[in-house]
Amino acid sequence: MDKRLVVAPDPLMDKFDPPRLPPDDRRWMTAPRPGGFLGAALLLAAVTLAADRLHELLPENVSILLFLTAVLVSAAAFGFWVGLASAVGAIAAFNYLFVEPHFTLHIARPRDLVTLAVFLLAAALTGILAGRLREQVDAAKGRAAALEVVSRVSGDLAGARSTEDVARIALRHLHGLSQGPAVALRAEGGRLQLLAAEPDGHLPEASDLDAADIAFRRGRAELAAAKGWSGSRLSFYPLSVQDGAGNRRGIVLGHARLDPDRSDKDWREKTIEVVLGQSGQALQRLALAEAAEAERRRAVTEETRAALLASLSHDLRTPLATILGAVTTLRELGATLPPASQTDLLAAIEEESERLARYVEKLLQLTRLQAGIAAQMAWVDAGDAALAAVTRARRSWPRAQIAAELAPLPMIRAEAGLLEQALFNLVENAVKYAPGPIRLTGAVEGPELVLAVSDSGRGLPAAIAAWLASEEAVGAPPGAGLGLPICKGIARALGGRMTAARGVSGGAVLAIRLPLPPDPGGKGAA
C-alpha cells in the first residue's frame, strides 16, 4: 500500500535572497517621498534664514559650508533626488543672498560665477554621495529586517501544530510585511472557507474570494488588481498538499498589494515570498506527520489484531476441543462409559462452555480495540479504574486474595473502560497462573503512572516477559493466552507500555505504564 503524500509543486519555493547592497549599475535612485522634499525645504529655509541673519558675523565661505551641510543632511535623510533638489535650492538661495547683485538671481562678477559653479559641483556630489549612502543604509536595514523576519517566521512555524497555527503565523507576518490586511482561507473538498484574518475581523470581499478560488483551482498565485482597477485588493497564493486519498487540501493565503512606490518594497516582497514558501513547507511537514501518524496507528491496529488472533486461536481452541471431544465421547461411547465418567464429562463441558463464554465476552470488548484503537481519551482517575477492576475480580473469584494498595494518584488521559479491562486481565492472569496473594499497586514513577499487579507465583515465563516488554504487538509466544496480549494492546492504545519484572518474593510483577499529562491536574475531571 503506497500512500505517500504528493505535494503540489510550490511556485514560491525559490531560494530566498534578500536584496543586495545596490551595485553601481543598479537603479539606486528610488522614488523620493513628498515628505522628503518638505523636510529639505524647511531645512533649507532655516539655513537661509540663519545665513541671512548672521551674515554680518559669518564669512561667506562659512555660509557656503552651512548650505552644503543642509544639502548633505537632506540627501542623507531623504535620498538622492531630494538631495539634488536641495542642492539646486541651496545654490539659488546662496545666489540670492550673497552674490552681487544681492537679492536677485543674477550674477554680476565672474568670480562669483566660479564660486557658484564650484558650489554647484560640491552640492551635487554631496547630494549624490549622501543619497547613495542613504540608499545603502536603507538597503542594509531592509536586509537586516528581512533576515530577522525570516528567522522569526522559521522559528514560529517550527512550532506550528496544525493548519490553523500555520495560517495564523503566516498572517501575522504577512500583515506586518504588507502593512495591510491578510486573510487565510481553508480549502476543503474544493470549497474555500475563511480560516483566519489579520487584523482579526477583517472580511474579504466577493472579488477577493473569487481571486482566491481561482488561485486555488489553478494552483498558482493570483495577484491583486493594481490601484484604480476593479478586482481583488489582495494577492492570493495557494499552498496545497495532497493527502493519502488523493484529495487536494490546504490553505490559500492572501495579502494586500505592496505600494509600488515604497523604497523598501523590494525586501518586503522577497520576505513575503519566503513567508509563503515556509508556510507551504510547514503545511507539508504537518501533512506528512499526519500521514505518518495515521500509518503508525494503522500498523498498531493491524499488529494488535494479529496478536489478538494468535492468542485467541489458542485460547478458544482448548475449550472447544474439550466440549466437542466430550460431547462426541458421550454420544459415541455413552453405552460403555461408567456413570462417574459421564458426570465428569458433563462437568467438563459445562466448565469449558463457561470459559468460552468469558472469552467471547472479552472479545466483544476487544472489537473496539481492534476497530481503530482510537481510545476516547478523557481525564480519568486511575485509582478509580484500578478499584473497579479489583472489585470485578473479587466478584469473579471470591476465594482469591486480592489486595489494592493505591496511593492517591493523579488524573491521567486515558479511557476508563479500557484501563479497567487491562487491569482486570492482569489480575485474572495472576489468579489463573499464580496461586496465592495478589497485590495491585499504583504509583508515580518519573513521567509515568505505574499500575502494577504482583503475584506470589513462580514468575512469568521468560519468553512471555520479554515479549510483553518489547515494542512488538504481534508474535506473542504460545501460551501467552488472550489476556496479556490484550493488556499490551490496551497499554499501547492509551499511549503507554507494559513491563514485566520479577518481584522480591519471586512472583511476577506486571505493570502498565501510562504517560502523565504535561500538567498533571484534574482539569475538567469527570
Partner: protein, 234 residues
Amino acid sequence: MRERRLILIADDEPQIQRFLGHALVAAGYDTCLAATGTEALAQVAAQEPDLIILDLGLPDMNGKEVIERLRLRSDLPVIVLSAHDQEMEKIMALDLGADDFVAKPFGIGELLARLRASLRPRRAARAEQIRQAGLVIDLAAHQVSRDGEQLRLTPKEFDLLAALAGNAGRVMTHHRLLQLVWGPAHVDDVPYLRVFIGQLRQKLERDPARPELILTEPGIGYRWAPAAEGGQTA
C-alpha cells in the same frame, strides 16, 4: 503382550487429558498421561506405550523435538494433535515420522479411527494382495485389476500406489511419498507428485473428480481410504 493397548496422552491441557482419558478407557484402551515433552519421553521409557497422542503445543519443547528424540529409540506410532496455526509444525512432525494427525477441535470418532489405523500393523511390502473396493492390488506381480479387469500402470505409478495402499488410513506426506517412490533427491517436487496422483486417480477411481480411494489432505499429502471397517466398501 498386554491385554489392552496402552496409549500415552501427552497434552498440557488438563481438560483435554480429562475427556481423552474417559473416551479411551471406554473405547477399550489403557491410558497414561504426560503434560510436558520431557515427561512424555520419560513415560515412553518407563511404560512402553503402544501409541502416543502428542499435542504439538507442549510448553517445554516443540512437537518436532519430541518426535526426533522418540525416533532415536523406537518407531512407536505417534498421532499429532495440532491447531490450524501449527500447520508448518504439523507437516514437519509428519515428515519426521509421526504417523498421523488430528486437528483441534475434533470429534472422538475421528481420533479413534486414526488410532486404529496407526495401531494396525503395517502391511509388509511382500503382502501378496490388497483387496479394496473392487480393486485387487497384487504387490508381488505388480498387477492391478478392478472388477476383474486388468489396469495398465507404469512402474512409478505402481510404486506410488503400493506406498499409499500399503499404509491404508494413514496420511502420507508429499515429502514421504516422493522419498519412497523417487528418492531423496526429489522430496520437493510436489507438482510432479500431483501429476502422478492425477494419473492414478484417472485409472483407479470410479469418478476421478470425486476420489474415494486416494484422498487429499490439503497442503500435507494423501491418504489411502481406510479399509472397510463398517461396510464402507462396495
